[in-house]
Structures are given as structure tokens and as C-alpha cells.
Amino acid sequence: MIGLIGRKVGMTQIYGDGGQALPVTVIEAGPCTVTEVRTPERNGYAAVQLGFGTNKETRFTKPVLGQFKTRNLPPARHLREFRVADVAGLEVGQSLTVSLFEKGKSVDVQGTTKGRGFAGVVKRHGFAAGHASHGPTAGKQPGSIGASAYPSRVTKGKRLPGRMGGAQLTVKNLKLVGVDAEQNVLLVLGAVPGPVNGLVLVETRKD
């Protein structure tokens, strides 16, 4: 479904109709320019490529800059594609804003999670930590990772320490509690992957 490229601004809280406090993420989304339309006839699938943000011309490579020049568009810092059911009504150069979204509807938000570096099993896989003291196996050790002579190896997929975060994650079905067309701002109920100022993709969904 069509969506917008945006920037995670941060979180705050507002109050709902019943007076309850709602945790919301503020996302600055769009305006995005349609930089390319993919059609089933030409590309085998239907999608739109959107551009978001600006940058100095020297920051682009000549081939990328050329793509914008031929379309007579200002160069956009971020380019992302959104699959759409139908490309009718979408053309290169068109500007998309938060008016795509409606308060009360739900959205999917995709982002890159915060990098946690080399993380242990307690943080990475939610293992229970051991006792804090009393002996050599205290703390956050993973424990036994398998039997000995048979099978003589560690089973594939065994959850072990390693790099955590910095991966793409989509959080689905987040409710929109506010749309501000003037400031290009979306208020999404709950948390969204990634750090503040991180790039996020906000996608409409059928509900």
C-alpha cells in the first residue's frame, strides 16, 4: 500500500477522549515527490518510487543526479519504493503529503532498529539471568548449549550471543491518533523502530 517516507522526531504523550494518557511517536512524514512509477507492463510490478529530503548536489553521484535531471526534479536524499495495487493517478513529479492518512486509521511503520552491538543472550534472546552471586555460574551466562559426544556439534539456530539491532523491522497496525497537514506530522500510538531522526517508512493499510 502507498505510504510516505518520514523521520522519527521522538515520543511524547497526549490525552485521549476518555482522558487517558496515550504514548505517541511524532513522525515528520513527507512531503514526498513521486520520482518514478513502476508499471506491470514495463517493470512487471506496480509501485511508486518516492523521494524525501534534500541534500547538496555534490553529495550525489553523477548517475543518480542524472536521474533527477532527466525528470526535472530537485535531487532527493532518500529514495524508497512502495508497492501499490494500482498506479492510476500517480505520475512523476507529483507531491504526496500526510493527507494520504486519516486520523483513527492504522498504519504500518518500518524502520531500522537501534544497533545494540555484540549482545549477550539475556538482552538478545530474553534468556533468564542467573543469580547475581554464589558461585562460578552466576550472572548472564547462556548455560549449556547442547549435549557432548552425541551430536558433537551445536544444533543449527541455537540462540547465542551476537550482533543485535541495526536490522529492518516493521511494526504493523499502529493507530494514527493525529494528522497535522500544516506541519507534515503524524502522531502514531506506541513506539516505532529506530533512533530519533531515523528514517521510517509509513504505509497505509487496509483495515
Binding site: V9, G10, T12, Q13, I14, Y15, G19, A21, V26, E28, G178, D180, Q183, V185, L187
Partner: protein, 121 residues
């Protein structure tokens, strides 16, 4: 002004007073019972103010029938109908938690004069 502040500004309640530790306030809380709504008043001294913008909260302490009672309110909660500032006290702490360990005369605060802090935020 950052975007977060702009978003918060749109949701913040007008007419909330600037609260400082030591301020005696009377908070009118909306209570919904069945289909009726009434207001409950909670009067006491502000012993703590924390947070900023939309997320600011304050704690009011009073002694009710010899029992210390504290309530923490979000400053911009819609359930708060009114915050009435009664008087200000001269305090030298940001948090007046030391009042918890005191009773009677020892738990008094000296009223401050001159600094009329009735401005709105």
C-alpha cells in the same frame, strides 16, 4: 521550537499556573460516577514538580486526619478541572520530601511574601 514542542503546545491546557515546590494548591479533579460528574478538591502543598511540557507532573501532599496523603497529577491532564494557587512558601529545596518525616509544627512551611508568582504557563 522543535516539532515535539509544537505538537505538545497544541495539546497543552491553557491557564495552568507555574507550580513551584512549597506552593499550596487546591486541585479540582473531575470524578465521573456512573453518568454523573462532580469535582473533588484536593488541597495541599506541592512537594515535587518534575518533567516539562506535556509530560510534567506535580505531587501534592496533605495531612488528612493525621495521615499523610500524596497525589501525583499530570499537569495537563484533562481530568484536572482547575488548579488554584492558594499561597507560596519560602523553600530551599527542589523536592520537599523531608516533610514526610515530620509532623505537626515541624512540618510547617514559611509563607513567602513579595514574590507574587501567579503567572500562567
Amino acid at each position: 521550537m522543535g516539532l515535539i514542542e509544537k505538537v505538545e503546545a497544541a495539546h497543552m491546557k491553557d491557564g495552568r499556573p507555574v507550580l513551584r515546590p512549597g506552593t499550596t494548591v487546591e486541585v479540582a479533579v473531575r470524578v465521573i460516577e456512573g453518568d454523573k460528574e462532580r469535582q473533588q478538591r484536593f488541597r495541599g502543598e506541592v512537594i515535587s514538580v518534575r518533567g516539562s511540557g506535556m509530560r510534567a507532573t506535580f505531587t501534592v501532599r496533605k495531612v488528612s486526619e493525621g495521615v499523610g496523603v500524596e497525589r501525583t497529577f499530570p499537569l495537563h491532564a484533562p481530568t484536572i478541572a482547575e488548579i488554584k494557587v492558594v499561597k507560596h512558601a519560602k523553600v530551599r529545596r527542589a523536592k520537599l520530601f523531608y516533610l514526610r518525616g515530620r509532623q505537626g509544627k515541624a512540618a510547617r512551611l514559611t509563607e513567602s511574601r513579595g514574590r507574587g508568582e501567579t503567572s500562567e504557563q
